[in-house]
Structures are given as C-alpha cells and as structure tokens.
C-alpha cells in the first residue's frame, strides 16, 4: 500500500512542474513589462526597477529565473494584485470558501437526483422512465450552463419572484466570516433569517452548476448498474428468493458505485469550469468571478497565481481520488 501511495504521489511532480512552468511563461507572454507585472506595480522609477530586476533575477538565465519563481511559489508567495495590492494567496483563500460551498452543494444536488434516477432507469430498463432519464441527461450534458442560468433567472426570479438574482446573501445582513462557509457562519450568528437568505441565494447557482454533473452521474450510474445486474451473483441472489429491494440496494449498488465514485472525482475539474461561468452569471463572490474580473482589469498576477492555485487544487483532488480508489479497490493498487 505504501508503495502504491508513493508511486501515485511521485507521479504528480512532473504535473506540478508543468503547471508552474506554464504560469512562469504566462507572465512573460502577456503584454507589458514583466517586471511591472510581477511586482504588481505600474510606472516604477528606474532605481526601484533595477532593484526589482535583481530581486526576480532578470539579469540571470531563464532557468535560474524559473528556480527563483519556483522557490517563491513553494513559500506561498504568488505576488500581489495590481489593483488591490493584496497578496494573491490571501485574496484566493478569502474567496475560495464561497466557491467550495457552491461546488459542494452542486455535487450534493447532482448525487441526490442523479443516483436514484440512474438506479431506477437501470431497473426499469427500456421503460418510459428510462428513456426520459436518458433523454434529459443527454440534454443536461449538452447544456450551455451560462444560458441555463439566465433561463432559470428568467423563470424563478423574474416570472415568479421566488429567488434572488445575484449575490450570496441579502445586503441587509453582515455576517462575520468564521469558516467562510455562509451556511455555517449564518447559523453561528444571532440572525436566523440570514441563514434562509443564504439558502435562497444558493438555490439557482446550485442547480446551474449541478446540471452537468447530474447528467454524467445519472448516465454512469445507469450503465454501471446494468452491467452489475447482469452478473451471476445477482442471478444467484434472485434464485435464493431475496427481496428485490435487497438485491438492488445491497448486492448490486455497492459494486456499481465504484465507477460512479471515480466519475464524481473526475467531475471536480468540470465543476471548477462550471463555477467560473456560474459565478459570473450570479455575481457569486468566488474565485471564478475573481479570475474573470482579473482578465478584464489586466490584473495578470491574479490571473497567474489564481490559475496556478486552481490547477493545484484540481491536481490534489485527483490524487486523493486516485488514492481512495486504490483503497476501496485492491485490484488497482496491485496492478502497478
């Protein structure tokens, strides 16, 4: 097992180097003086420029410059925003909980609907329900979610006036950030209505972000269940006269879940892609909107550092999924 963990962990080193190399060249490719971009300042006077040039190693060969950059990254120094002059890392960590909260709700939403839908579709194969689930999930999979968000706003916010259009919580409330997760922070505060305001604001973004994972999970669950239901041990269980529910819930589902869990893990990258769009539509104050804003403000340090951090997060989650997969499925960890 230790050997398996070590191999998997060592495999991410080239990926890590690749992502940092990409970020390193990004700053040198954008329009403008790279030193000004790196320092996060504009219109620097010549003396300071010379000092900065030495600090970032611009008088050294590229490989040394990359080494300097890498050591700064490893110390958590990702430069500072050109607009706010705040360190990129602290801006990221202030906004990241909002993205995580939204992403977790979206995955939960996708699981709560996708799993049962996929299971029932597999059991009632070729029924109207099955065709319906498959049709809807292919539609969900093809959905331009930025449009889906606008349509939901049109329906629920404009037509029926049920949900708010944007933001994380009503401006009436000021919630002291403790965990950064508003659903928890509002419960800790002494204003119970604030919690419901946060929930209201979460509904539409959750649906929008959860749509594609929902479609993928429903399709995957159905095909995994169909495969498992054709196995001999299911026939044996049927022959023993076990109740149908017991066969499905205990014998089939547990084995069908393994590929489904992998797919959920792989959805994390898709989820962040979706978060960028969802946050833009709903003015959700997370890292996705922050990155898009950075592009339009030409705040390149934020773009560089933010993209690097998001890449790291996805990389780490993929690694964890990989390790967890090896843990629940012994066949994987012994084949390497």
């Amino acid at each position: 097992m230790l050997r398996f963990i070590l191999t998997r962990v060592s495999l991410i080193i080239p990926t890590f180097l690749g992502i940092t190399l990409l970020a390193f060249f990004l700053i040198r490719l954008v329009p403008g003086d790279p030193i000004e971009t790196l320092a996060g300042e504009r219109g620097i006077d010549p003396a300071r420029l010379e000092e900065l040039r030495r600090l970032y190693g611009f008088d050294q060969p590229l490989i040394v410059q990359y080494g300097i950059y890498l050591s700064r990254v490893l110390q958590g120094d990702l430069g500072k925003s050109m607009i706010t002059q705040e360190p990129v890392l602290s801006e990221f960590s202030a906004l990241f909980p909002a993205t995580i909260e939204l992403a977790l709700c979206a995955i939960l939403f996708a699981l709560l609907i996708g799993l049962p839908a996929g299971i029932i579709a597999a059991i009632r194969r070729n029924s109207i329900f099955d065709h319906g689930v498959m049709g809807i999930s292919l539609t969900g999979y093809s959905m331009p979610i930025f449009w889906w968000g606008l349509i939901l706003i049109l329906l629920f916010s404009v037509q029926f006036d049920l949900t708010p259009v944007s933001g994380r919580i009503d401006v009436l409330y000021y919630i002291e950030p403790v965990t950064g997760f508003l659903l928890i922070d509002t419960l800790l505060s002494d204003e119970p209505e604030a919690f419901w305001s946060a929930v209201e604001h979460l509904i539409l973004p959750t649906i929008v972000l959860g749509t594609v994972p929902l479609a993928v999970i429903a399709r995957m669950t159905r095909s995994a269940m169909l495969e498992v239901l054709g196995e001999d041990y299911i026939r044996t269980a049927k022959a023993k006269g076990l109740p149908r529910f017991r066969i499905v819930a205990l014998h089939a589902l547990r084995n069908a879940l393994i590929p489904v869990i992998t797919v959920i893990g792989l959805q994390i990258g898709v989820l962040f892609t979706g978060a960028i769009l969802t946050e833009t539509i709903f003015s959700w104050p997370g890292v996705g909107k922050w990155l898009i804003d950075a592009i339009f403000r030409r705040d390149y340090p934020v773009l560089q550092g933010g993209a690097l951090l998001l890449g790291m997060v996805v990389m780490s989650v993929n690694l964890l999924v990989d390790l967890a997969y090896g843990l629940i499925n012994p066949r994987i960890r012994h084949t390497r």
Partner: protein, 303 residues
C-alpha cells in the same frame, strides 16, 4: 470506410457479408436518437450554407425604431421579425442563421486542428515509446489536469480576445483526447499480425504509421470527432459569453447572449433563442456521436 473497423457479426459463410456501409447504416438507423441528431445537423448545415438566401434581414442592420420587438405571436410583434429584435433593432432570426455558419466553422476548424495534431502526436508516442512517449503523454496529462475552460481562458488572456484565438485555445484543450485515443489504438494495432507482416516485407516507419495502422484507428477517432465538435461549439460559446471569444457585433451565439444579458429582465426572447440554438446543435452532435460509437463498434456498445 475500412472493413477492418467493423467486426463482422456472427459469421454467415454461405452468403456474402453485407457491404460495410450498409451494415453500418443498419446499426446506425436502429438508434432513433442518432438519426434525429443527424437530421438536425443536416438542417443546421443547410441553414448555414443558405444563410444569404433564407435570412430575412441583414444580421448587422440596426434600427433603433424597432428595438426590442417581441416575437410575432406576442402582442407588439410582427411577422417581419419572427423571433423579435435585439436592443439595437437587429433581427434575431437573421443573426441566429448567420450564427450557425460561425458555430459550424468553429466546430470544424477546432476539431480539424486537434485531430490532425493529436493523431500525429499519438502515433509518434505509440510508435516510438520510451522518452518521446513519456514526454508527450505527461504534457497531455498536464493539459487534462487543468479545468478545460480555465486553460482556455488563460490562453485567450495571453493571446488577446477574439474568435481565432478562442478557437486555438479550445483546440489545445481538447487535444489530449485525440492523442490518447490514437496512442492507445496504435499500441493495440502494432501487436497484430498484419503490422508484423508489413514490417517484415520492409515497410518503413512512416508507411507503417500512416498507411497500415492509421486506417484501422479511424473508428474511435470519428466518434471522438463528433463529440469534439459539440465540446468545441459549447466552449467557444462560453468564451464568447465571457467576452473572450468572438467580439460584437459578430452574430456568434455565445456573444449574442453576452450582449443580451442585461436585458434578461425586460425581453426574454433576446436571451432565450441564442441559447436554444446552442443547446439544440450541441445535443445533435452528442446524439450523433453516441450513435456512431454504437454503430462503428458494436463490441463497445454501451447498453
């Protein structure tokens, strides 16, 4: 179409096997969804080709006198502008029709770039193995690790917004799928006897790669191409929506949505129709891709 790509069903030695194309159509047409997808795609292609003839108006002609006119079935709408007009009085139907040209162009260009580059990289990785393979595949893993839209956004931020750069970015993002597919197919194929036979009879590496092995890897690549077009259209539209793809006044569907966003509270039609066009087109290519996969490779058929 090569006979090798379609494993024959249960052998019936007495009668001659059906023509590969006929057999393919037999599998394909059994899938109603795939046929529906094909019909929609043919329709979109026709609309795009005949845009000059069927579009009722110039897609860029503005007329503030008729701004934000609703579709014809609503009060205040007229048949002259069947799907209504946008905030500066352009005919939405005409813009959608010309947008079909752009979307198909995006899909075809993006997939062509990544299929050509990806196949070559995959063939090279699969043939030469060793360090070359490790280098190429690690590079592709890095591209796959980053969230696709994030990578595309970063590329466009560096190159500058615009349709051409957006297409390049999306092409790079979907590249790893083709490299992996081609490499996997090459590795399976090279162990087969016919490759050995060609090698023994003195075929060079280039001939082996492109004349012997490549034709037998086309089935998965065709399937992936169809699915790739849908991803390309969707991602390019997302970039357009974020203001990083095609720039206004281009009638690209995602760009149209970005323009219309602030009018969502006042005029439902300016946001509804462009998105519907994206959804229907992307869905059609996904249906087609699913159908092609089932028809070209019955063994892989997902139940």
């Amino acid at each position: 179409m090569n006979a090798e790509t379609i494993p024959a069903p249960v052998a019936a030695p007495a009668t001659s096997p059906p023509h590969p194309l006929r057999e393919f159509w037999g599998y394909f047409s059994a899938n109603h969804g795939a046929v529906a997808g094909l019909v929609i795609i043919v329709a979109v292609v026709l609309v795009a080709l005949l845009a000059d003839v069927i579009a009722p108006h110039d897609p860029n002609l503005t007329n503030t006198a008729i701004a934000l006119q609703p579709p014809f079935w609503q009060e205040g709408g007229s048949l002259a502008y069947p799907l209504g007009t946008d905030p500066i009085g352009r005919d939405i139907l005409s813009r959608l029709i010309y947008g079909a040209q752009l979307s198909l162009l995006i899909g075809i260009v993006v997939v062509s770039i990544s299929i050509v580059v990806g196949t070559v990289l995959g063939l090279v990785a699969g043939f030469f193995r060793g360090l070359t393979e490790i280098f190429i595949m690690r590079l592709m893993d890095i591209v796959l690790t980053l969230p696709s839209l994030l990578l595309a956004i970063v590329i466009v931020a560096v190159l500058g917004p615009g349709l051409m750069n957006a297409m390049l970015a999306v092409a790079l993002v979907i590249l790893p799928h083709y490299v992996r597919l081609a490499r996997a197919a090459v590795i399976t194929e090279t162990s087969k006897d016919y490759v050995m036979a060609a090698r023994v009879s003195g075929a060079g590496t280039g001939r082996l790669m492109f004349r012997e092995v490549l034709p037998n890897c086309t089935a998965p690549l065709i399937v992936q191409a169809s699915l790739g077009i849908s991803t390309a259209i969707l991602d390019a539209a997302a970039l357009g929506f974020l203001g990083l793809g095609a720039q206004p006044p281009s009638p690209e569907w995602g760009t149209m949505l970005a323009d219309a966003r602030e009018f969502v509270l006042r005029a439902w039609w300016v946001v509804t129709f462009p998105g519907l066009a994206i959804l229907i087109t992307v869905l059609a290519f996904n249906l087609l891709g699913d159908g092609l996969r089932d028809a070209l490779d019955p063994k892989l058929k997902r139940s």
